[in-house]
Symmetry: C2
Subunit: 401 residues, 2 copies
């Protein structure tokens, strides 16, 4: 399979002087710099001097393989992930990066192509993932594609359509009480040799290789419109935020881009561990989370990756409430784009600070509307097809007839 | 907007000597050749001598605009439709054309970009569509994008998640009894001036311009793998079948391809108007339809476009039953691809005749699994997270631990 990768090893984000071999992926972060209260992730290092100049000249299209030199080894087959379009929304003056156009209709496919490749690379018989939504389904899809088994630890509160989704790829899906998921993830990994592709540390470190997949979002945006003034990113653990930032940072390092965009993390107001960590000057922290329908990004625990992305790009962490999310979601629908509530966080965040920008701005929309709470709960009222009845309905909707 | 179109007029499929001006689109088919029992559609003619040679040399990617010379005028803005990947399935030796990667996660976006452009071209204040699923949602999305109103006449039997989907783009959605939809479509078009983008004739003619959008599937496949031996297409009214065939036929006409693939229509065994029409030597006919979960393609009425595509390409109409569909759907899920049941008809059909082919074969998969009957009906059983219980579950699933 694909071994064009220029990856040279793993590097601690907690102490960039700490380096580790590329294999095995450090699925529990940096062992040396992590403390009882803060787990530091690792990232992947590359031989940047050997990046072929043609890499950024080829057309944008689907399949992460075209970016292989700047990704960890792609040992698991792809599903045509990435190559998603930028859609301009004139009313807001922004571009939407439409990640619902991935193989399982969310950005998570970019991560899972890489994380499942790591599982294949270490010869694991399968992967195990704790997720009540997109991440679990995506891991299941890539495991299936690679001929690996998959165990998804999901929670009973996942929306009904998402339950069908997660089960569609032949994974073993176990709905367990939410707090039991992480101890069980570690236990299953230990007892089965399955490779964990979601987080199991105190503050979030997640997969060592996975977030590298998100760099391709930056490469694609750069190929289409260059460097935008800012990126607004729905933020849970901050892996997407970090990956997109790192992609631009690499373009700067390679002499192709003058600077990175400012990275704006858009967290639900019900929680917001990154916002809290930045306010308190912490590398990462945890918060009590309140209720929100943006379940996909309502994380009680943050991660240091997000802090790095915001700090290095002179960005910010914004809190968006459910009313702002619902308005952004509805307005996107009225532009022909249907996303889940969490995915509207980018546009909702942008609207809080829109006056600060005059250059092009990109809001990342992560996932299709099918994954939302409430989907499938619409009880259609059957309308009498008599013309007088229908005409009244149309007139009520301001349609002249 | 985009007026690179080389479209010159409309031509009757019933009598190719009958030509009509390009505007207005003949939304009720060819008025001269249609009879009481058979409605003949029209297609769009182009000035093929003026097709720029570069047209087929540019990279495949999203947005129908790149094919503008061979499409009707694109007067409505796009959503990055098309540019979907071909995914190879080694177990079956086929390529899947993954149309779930479109803006509203089905092939219908290719048609609606073009059909809503026609509505914009005639200055209609909106569009009206009878559909219980993908077509209605897609029309609503493109109308919203173009700033046009949309009325969707849906049926109460549409799956719950699809009800949410169709309503997400701000259309006026009226659930009416199924047989009332077509008379109401005509009445609404007459009383409001809304442009109809679905069928309203005895046998199917559908929109005059819309199926031209499906030609881009052929252009994309050709750019990636050349001319496959055969295309297997989930078939309801046959617009997709015709459009994909016509795209290849144009490549032959332009001297770029040696022949078209053989076109295999894959209809649900519960109905199958094309299969019946071909067996009886009719241009198009209607059938009684029985129960099937492949609701997206269970059409009682066929259209002459499908007959042309099968006849001209020496193809065939195959009937696939729900067990064959369910097996193909499950196997695609086990390859990392989740489609609605109707979408699995291409692979199910191919499996009936696989021994006849040794060249590359493409099965078109039309739409994501979220649109299926039964989605959201999964009641997750909550599992006790005790390790002994979990271990037993894993062992039952053949996972060693």
């Amino acid at each position: 399979m694909n071994d064009l990768s220029l990856a040279t090893g793993q590097r601690s984000l907690g102490d960039p002087d700490l380096r580790y071999p590329l294999w095995p992926p450090l699925t529990r972060g940096c062992p040396a710099s992590s403390t009882d209260t803060t787990s530091y992730p690792v990232e992947v290092d590359y031989d940047y001097d050997r990046v072929p100049v043609e890499l950024f000249q080829q057309p944008v299209g689907s399949g992460l393989d075209r970016w292989a030199p700047l990704l960890p080894p792609l040992r698991a087959p792809g599903l045509g992930e990435g190559g998603t379009p930028l859609i301009e929304i004139p009313a807001d003056g922004v571009f939407i990066k439409d990640e619902s156009r991935n193989p399982t209709w969310s950005h998570k496919d970019r991560l899972n192509r890489v994380a499942v490749s790591a599982a294949a690379g270490v010869g694991a018989p399968g992967v195990v993932v704790a997720s009540s939504g997109n991440h679990g389904a995506s891991a299941a899809a890539y495991a299936a594609r690679a001929g690996l088994r998959c165990v998804v630890l999901t929670s009973a509160e996942a929306p009904p359509a998402v339950n069908s989704f997660v089960r569609s790829y032949g994974a073993v899906v176990l709905s367990v009480p939410t707090p039991a998921r992480w101890p069980l993830l570690r236990r299953i990994a230990a007892e089965t040799g399955f490779h964990p592709v979601s987080n199991s540390t105190t503050t979030h470190t997640g997969h060592a290789f996975g977030p590298e997949g998100y760099k391709t979002i930056a490469y694609e945006i750069f190929a289409e419109i260059g460097v935008p003034a800012a990126l607004f990113v729905p933020t849970g653990y901050g892996e997407l935020l970090f990956g997109a930032w790192k992609g631009f940072a690499e373009l700067v390092r390679l002499g192709l881009a003058p600077a990175t965009p400012r990275m704006f993390a858009c967290e639900p107001a019900a929680g917001g561990p990154l916002n809290r960590a930045l306010a308190e000057g912490l590398p990462a922290t945890s918060v009590e989370i309140g209720p929100t329908d943006a379940y996909g990004i309502n994380c009680p625990v943050g991660g240091y990756r997000a802090t790095v992305a915001v700090r290095e790009s002179v960005g910010r962490a914004l809190l968006v409430d459910d009313a702002e999310l619902a308005q952004a979601q509805q307005d996107l629908g009225r532009s022909g784009l249907w996303y889940e509530l969490s995915s509207a966080a980018g546009l909702a965040g942008f609207r809080q600070v829109r006056d600060e920008f005059d250059g092009p701005v990109v809001c990342v929309a992560t996932s299709s509307g099918f994954k939302d709470i409430g989907v499938g709960g619409v009880q259609p009222e059957v309308v009498d097809p008599d013309w007088d009845v229908v005409r009244r309905r149309l007139r009520t909707a301001d349609i002249a007839c």
